[in-house]
C-alpha cells in the first residue's frame, strides 16, 4: 500500500526583547544560572506579572507578515501543570483568545510550485526554565536554571497542510526567515531561539480521513526536524502495515542516536485546567496601532522574492532562497550589480559561496569574500576572462584571503586563452601528438564520439594549464576532428 503523510507544525519563536514577557529581568542568553531570574520569574509569593508591550508589538508584526487576522482583544490564560522548570505551577499562555488569528504562509517547492500553508493561530506565552540532568550535583538529582523562565515566546500553530519532511523544512525555514527579517527573533537555532513540535500522521494514499497523530516535541534544528519526521512516518507506516494501531502520544527525538521515543511521563495527567489569568486583564489592540506597526514593517522575504524575480529575472525558487534573509539578498544584489549577470550572480551566491559558508558554519555577514569581490569574479567569468573552472580556483584563493579576483588572475597568469590563432595552434599540436586518440575518435561510432572528444579536450586543457577558453577550444577541436573524419571517409 502507498501512504500519505500529514504534518502540522507548532513553532516556538523566542522573541528578542530585552526583558521577559512579564518581568523587567534581562533575557540575555548564556548568563550564570539563575542570575536573570527575578522575583516574578521565580514566582515569589505576592509577585505579579506586567505584560511587555514589545512582545505584543512583535506579535502584531508577525501577524501582519503571515497575513493573519489580528483580533481586537486577546486574553492570557493559566495552563496548570507541575514541573520544576515552571515556577508558578502554571504557564501563562493563550488558548481561546490568541493574539493572532487565522493566517497563511506561501512556500515555494523545488519544482517551482507555490503551496499555501494555513496558520491556525499564533499566541504569546512565557518560556519555561531548564532542567539539567547531569552536573556536579550528583546523580539522582536535576538542577534547575530559571534564567529562561519568562522569556517571551510566540507559538505559531499550522493546519496539517504539510505533506513531507522536505515541505516541513521549507516551511520552517520560511518562518525562520520571516521572524529574522522582522527582527523579532535572533534565529539562533543552537540556543533554542526557534523550536519545533511536529504533529505527524499517515493515511492510505488517496484517503481523506486523518490518521492518529503523534507529537514529537522540542526539535531545535531543521536537520533534526527532518530526521524526526521521516523516522516517525516510517514508524507509523510500519505499525499500520503490521496490522497495529498508532497511539496518540507525545514523543521526543534524540538527534545523536537518531531514535524517537515516547514521553510517557507527560501523558498520565494532562488536564491543564485552563482559565483566564486574573492577574492580567484582556489586551486591547486598536486598528490604529496595527496600522502604525504596518507602516514600520521592513521588507518581508516574500516581497523581496517577488522584487528579485521581476528586477533581476532570476527563478522563483532561487529568489525565495535568496530572500530568506536581508543580508543574503543584499549580498546577491551587490554581486548582480557588479557582474551584470543576475543568473550567474544567483548561481555563485547560492552555490559556491553558500556551500563554503555552510561548511564553515559562517553567517553571510562574516563571509571572507566580500560581495563586491565576488561580483568582479563572476564578471570575469561572464566576459570570458577566465573559465568557470578556473573561477572556482580563484574563488578558493579569495576565500583564503589571497587577494581579489583580478590580482589572483593576473599574478597567477590564469587569464583564459581566447585568441583563435593560439588556440588553433594548441588544438593542432594536441591532434598531432595523439594520433591514437584521434584515430579512436574517427573509428568509433557517433554515439561514442562525445566521450572521445572529451579525452582530447582534457589533453588540451592540461597543456594550457586550464586556461584555454573551453567553448572556443571545443568548437575548434570538433571542427578539426570533423574535417579529419571526412577526409578519412573520403
Amino acid at each position: 500500500m502507498r501512504w500519505d503523510s500529514v504534518i502540522g507544525l507548532e513553532i516556538h519563536v523566542q522573541l528578542s526583547t530585552v526583558t521577559k514577557i512579564f518581568s523587567g529581568a534581562s533575557t540575555l542568553f548564556g548568563a550564570k544560572p539563575n542570575s536573570q531570574a527575578c522575583a516574578i520569574d521565580l514566582a515569589m509569593p505576592g509577585t505579579l506579572p506586567v505584560l511587555n508591550s514589545k512582545a505584543v508589538d512583535n506579535a502584531i508584526m508577525l501577524g501582519l507578515a503571515i497575513n493573519a487576522e489580528i483580533p481586537p482583544i486577546s486574553i492570557f490564560e493559566r495552563k496548570n501543570y507541575f514541573y520544576p522548570d515552571l515556577p508558578k505551577g502554571y504557564q501563562t499562555t493563550q488558548l481561546e483568545w490568541p493574539i493572532i488569528g487565522k493566517g497563511k504562509v506561501p512556500i515555494f517547492l523545488k519544482d517551482g510550485t507555490k503551496k499555501e500553508i494555513r496558520i491556525h493561530h499564533a499566541h504569546l506565552e512565557e518560556d519555561a526554565g531548564k532542567s539539567l540532568h547531569s552536573g556536579s550535583f550528583g546523580s539522582g538529582l536535576s538542577g534547575i536554571d530559571l534564567n529562561r523562565a519568562g522569556t517571551p515566546l510566540i507559538e505559531i500553530v499550522t493546519e496539517p497542510d504539510l505533506s513531507s519532511a522536505t515541505e516541513a523544512v521549507i516551511f520552517a525555514k520560511k518562518i525562520h526567515s520571516l521572524v529574522t527579517s522582522l527582527g523579532i527573533c535572533d534565529g539562533h537555532m543552537a540556543e533554542g531561539s526557534l523550536r519545533f513540535d511536529v504533529n505527524v500522521s499517515v493515511r492510505p494514499n488517496g484517503s481523506t480521513a486523518l490518521g492518529t497523530r503523534t507529537e514529537t516535541k522540542n526539535l531545535n534544528s531543521f536537520k533534526f526536524m527532518k530526521e524526526a519526521i521521516i523516522l516517525e512516518i516510517d514508524r507509523q507506516i510500519e505499525i499500520l502495515e503490521d496490522g497495529g494501531t498508532v497511539i496518540q502520544e507525545t514523543r521526543l527525538y534524540n538527534g545523536e542516536t537518531k531514535t524517537g521515543y515516547s514521553m510517557r511521563s507527560k501523558e498520565e495527567a494532562n488536564d491543564y485546567r485552563y482559565f483566564p489569568c486574573p492577574d492580567l486583564l484582556p489586551v486591547k489592540i486598536t486598528k490604529s496601532h496595527v496600522q502604525e506597526i504596518q507602516k514600520k514593517l521592513p521588507e518581508l522575504p516574500d516581497e523581496r522574492s517577488i522584487r528579485l524575480v521581476s528586477e533581476y529575472g532570476i527563478g522563483a525558487f532561487e529568489a525565495d532562497i535568496l530572500s530568506t534573509s536581508k543580508e543574503l539578498s543584499n549580498y546577491f544584489e551587490i554581486v548582480a550589480g557588479k557582474c551584470k549577470n543576475p543568473k550567474q550572480a544567483a548561481n555563485w551566491t547560492l552555490g559556491e559561496l553558500m556551500g563554503r559558508l555552510n561548511t564553515a558554519n559562517l553567517p553571510i555577514m562574516e563571509s571572507p569574500v566580500a560581495a563586491e569581490d565576488l561580483g568582479v569574479l563572476v564578471e570575469r567569468v561572464c566576459d570570458h576572462t577566465i573559465s568557470g573552472k578556473i573561477a572556482k580556483q580563484v574563488f578558493e584563493a579569495m576565500w583564503k584571503g589571497e587577494g581579489t579576483a583580478d590580482v589572483i588572475i593576473r599574478d597567477r597568469n590564469l587569464k583564459q586563452l581566447t585568441d583563435l590563432k593560439t588556440l588553433n595552434e594548441l588544438v593542432t599540436s594536441v591532434i598531432s601528438d595523439n594520433p591514437k586518440m584521434v584515430n579512436d575518435f574517427i573509428t568509433s561510432g557517433p554515439q561514442h564520439r562525445k566521450k572521445k572528444l572529451g579525452g582530447l579536450m582534457g589533453q588540451i586543457m592540461r597543456r594550457s594549464k586550464g586556461q584555454a577558453d573551453p567553448k572556443r577550444t571545443n568548437d575548434l577541436l570538433a571542427r578539426k576532428l570533423c574535417e579529419l573524419t571526412n577526409e578519412q571517409e573520403d
Binding site: 509569593p45 505576592g46 493559566r78 505551577g89
Partner: protein
C-alpha cells in the same frame, strides 16, 4: 494613649505631647502583655519598631512629613515585609523571609509608620474564624471563648485589644469586614484595584483587596490616603483620581439614599442582629438619610459562585508552593512527585487543601463549564444586581454577618456552615465594590457590625456616612474589658 484614635495621636505627635518612641513603647508593652492571651500577632518586630520610631521622631521634628509619620501599625502576615518573616498563617511559609516589601507596606513605611509586627490570620486567608492558622487561633478580645472572625482576625483583634491603633488587612470574601464586625472595630475593603496587590500573597486574584482596619471611619480614611496608590507593578491596579478621603468625611448625609436589600434580611439573619442593625440605621435616618427598599435577587448564589471562583483561582495561585525555591520542603524526597505531594500535604492545612481540591475539581475537564463558567456568569448577574440597585440609591446597608462571634469549634466540622458566615460580604468581592463594616451595637455583649457598600470608587461616600454615624454614637469607642 491606646484609647486615642489615630487622628488624635497625629495631633498628639504634632503638639509633642508624646513622641513616636513613647507611643511605640506603649503599644509594645501592651503587645507583650496581651498577645499571649489573644495570639493576634505571629511576629513582633520590637527592635525594628523602635528604630523606625526614632527615625519618625527625627522626621517629625522637621516641617514636612506625612500625617501618619510615627503612628504604629500592624501588617497582616499576608503582606510581604522585607527581612521579616511572612508566613501567611501557614506552615508552608514558616521560614519565609521575603527580600522585598509589599506596596502597601512600602507606602506605609515611606509615610513613616512604625511596624509593630505581623498579624495572625487564617492560613492563606482561607477561613472566617482564624481557626485555620498554623500559629493557633486568635481569641476575640470581647470574649476569648469566641472567634475573632477571619481571615484578618489578628488585625481586627489587635486593634480591638488596643495592641495597635491600625492594622492592614485583606478581604477576598469578607476577610476585613467580618472580623472587624466580630471584634467591634471599623474595617474598609476598597474598590478592587484601589490598593495594590503587589507583595500581597495571592488567594484569589480577582477578589483579593487590601484595606485598613482601625477604630474609626476617620482613621480608615487617613490610612486609605496612604494605602491606595496606582502601582505599575500590579496591572490590575486602578488609575484613579487621587483625593483626600478625609475631605468629604463631614459632609451632611441628609437626603442620602440608603438601600436596604431585602434578601439580606432573611431567615438566616438572627433577629437580635436585625434589631441592632435597624436601631443603628435609625441614627442615619435621624441625620436625614432615607432608607430605600432594594432587591439583590441573586444574593443566595453569591456563596456558591464564590466557592467555585475563589478555590479555582487559589488552586493555581498556590501551585508555586512546591518546596523548590522557598518555603517548606519535605525531608528526603524519594522522587519529584514525592517532593511535590509530601511538601504540599505537610505544608498546607486542611482547609487550604480542601479549597485546592475544590478549585482543581471545578476547573477540570468535564466540569469547567458546569462550575467555573457558570459561576462567572452568576458573578455577572450579581454585578448587574448592584448596578440596578445603585441606580436607585447612594449606598447599600446591611448587617456584616448573620450573627455575633461564634464559639471556637462551633463551625469547624462543616465547612459549609463556615462558608455561610460570609453570606453578606461575598457579593461585594464578586462585583469588586467597596464595602466597610462599622460597629453598630452589641448582642449579649458581643459586637455587631453594620455593613455599608458603595458604588465603584465611592469610598469617600461610605466613609462619610460611617463617620457621621460615629460622631453621633459611641459603639466604636467601646473597648473590651482589659485583661491583665
Amino acid at each position: 494613649m491606646h484609647d486615642m484614635s489615630i487622628a488624635s495621636q497625629i495631633l498628639g505627635l504634632k503638639k509633642r505631647e508624646f513622641s513616636s518612641v513613647e507611643l511605640t513603647l506603649h503599644y509594645l508593652g501592651r503587645i507583650k502583655r496581651l498577645n499571649p492571651i489573644f495570639n493576634a500577632l505571629i511576629t513582633v518586630t520590637e527592635e525594628q519598631a523602635l528604630e523606625s520610631a526614632k527615625r519618625a521622631d527625627e522626621t517629625l521634628s522637621g516641617n514636612i512629613y506625612n500625617e501618619l509619620c510615627g503612628i504604629p501599625v500592624v501588617h497582616k502576615d499576608i503582606f510581604c515585609t522585607r527581612g521579616v518573616k511572612t508566613s501567611c498563617g501557614s506552615k508552608m511559609l514558616h521560614n519565609f523571609v521575603p527580600p522585598y516589601d509589599a506596596t502597601v507596606v512600602e507606602n506605609l513605611s515611606q509615610a513613616g509608620t512604625v511596624m509593630l509586627g505581623k498579624a495572625n490570620m487564617d492560613e492563606f486567608a482561607m477561613g472566617s474564624s482564624n481557626e485555620t492558622s498554623f500559629y493557633g487561633p486568635v481569641k476575640n478580645p470581647w470574649d476569648i471563648t469566641r472567634v475573632p472572625g477571619g481571615s484578618s482576625g489578628g488585625s481586627a483583634a489587635a486593634v480591638a485589644a488596643r495592641m495597635t491603633p491600625a492594622a492592614t488587612a485583606t478581604d477576598t470574601g469578607g476577610s476585613i469586614r467580618q472580623p472587624a464586625a466580630l471584634c467591634g472595630v471599623t474595617g474598609l475593603k476598597p474598590t478592587y484595584g484601589l490598593v495594590s496587590r503587589w507583595g500581597m500573597i495571592a488567594f484569589a486574584s480577582s477578589l483579593d483587596q487590601g484595606g485598613p482596619i482601625a477604630r474609626t471611619a476617620e482613621d480608615c480614611a487617613i490610612l486609605l490616603n496612604t494605602m491606595a496608590s496606582y502601582d505599575h507593578r500590579d496591572s490590575t491596579s486602578l488609575k484613579f483620581q487621587e483625593k483626600d478621603y478625609r475631605d468629604e468625611i463631614n459632609r451632611s448625609i441628609s437626603g442620602c439614599r440608603i438601600g436596604i436589600p431585602r434578601e439580606y434580611f432573611s431567615n438566616s439573619l438572627s433577629p437580635s442582629v436585625e434589631a441592632t442593625v435597624f436601631k443603628a440605621l435609625g441614627v442615619l435616618t435621624d441625620l436625614g438619610a432615607i432608607l430605600v427598599d432594594v432587591s439583590l435577587p441573586n444574593t443566595k448564589l453569591s456563596v456558591p459562585a464564590y466557592y467555585v471562583i475563589a478555590p479555582a483561582e487559589a488552586s493555581a495561585n498556590l501551585a508555586r508552593f512546591d518546596g523548590i525555591r522557598f518555603g517548606h520542603r519535605c525531608e528526603n524526597p524519594q522522587s519529584l512527585e514525592d517532593l511535590y505531594c509530601r511538601t504540599r500535604a505537610e505544608g498546607f492545612g486542611e482547609e487550604v487543601q480542601r479549597r485546592i481540591l475544590i478549585g482543581t475539581y471545578c476547573l477540570s475537564a468535564g466540569y469547567h463549564d458546569a462550575y467555573y463558567k457558570k459561576a462567572q456568569q452568576v458573578r455577572h448577574l450579581i454585578k448587574q444586581d448592584f448596578t440596578e440597585a445603585f441606580s436607585k440609591v447612594d449606598v447599600v446597608a446591611s448587617p456584616t454577618c448573620p450573627a455575633p462571634a461564634f464559639k471556637f469549634g462551633e463551625k469547624s466540622d462543616d465547612p459549609v456552615k463556615m462558608y455561610l458566615e460570609d453570606i453578606y460580604t461575598i457579593a461585594t468581592n464578586l462585583a469588586g465594590l467597596p464595602g466597610m463594616s462599622i460597629p453598630c451595637g452589641f448582642v449579649d455583649r458581643n459586637p455587631i457590625g453594620l455593613q455599608l457598600i458603595g458604588n465603584y470608587l465611592q469610598e469617600a461616600r461610605i466613609l462619610n456616612i460611617a463617620h457621621c454615624m460615629q460622631k453621633e454614637t459611641d459603639w466604636h469607642n467601646s473597648a473590651p474589658k482589659e485583661h491583665s
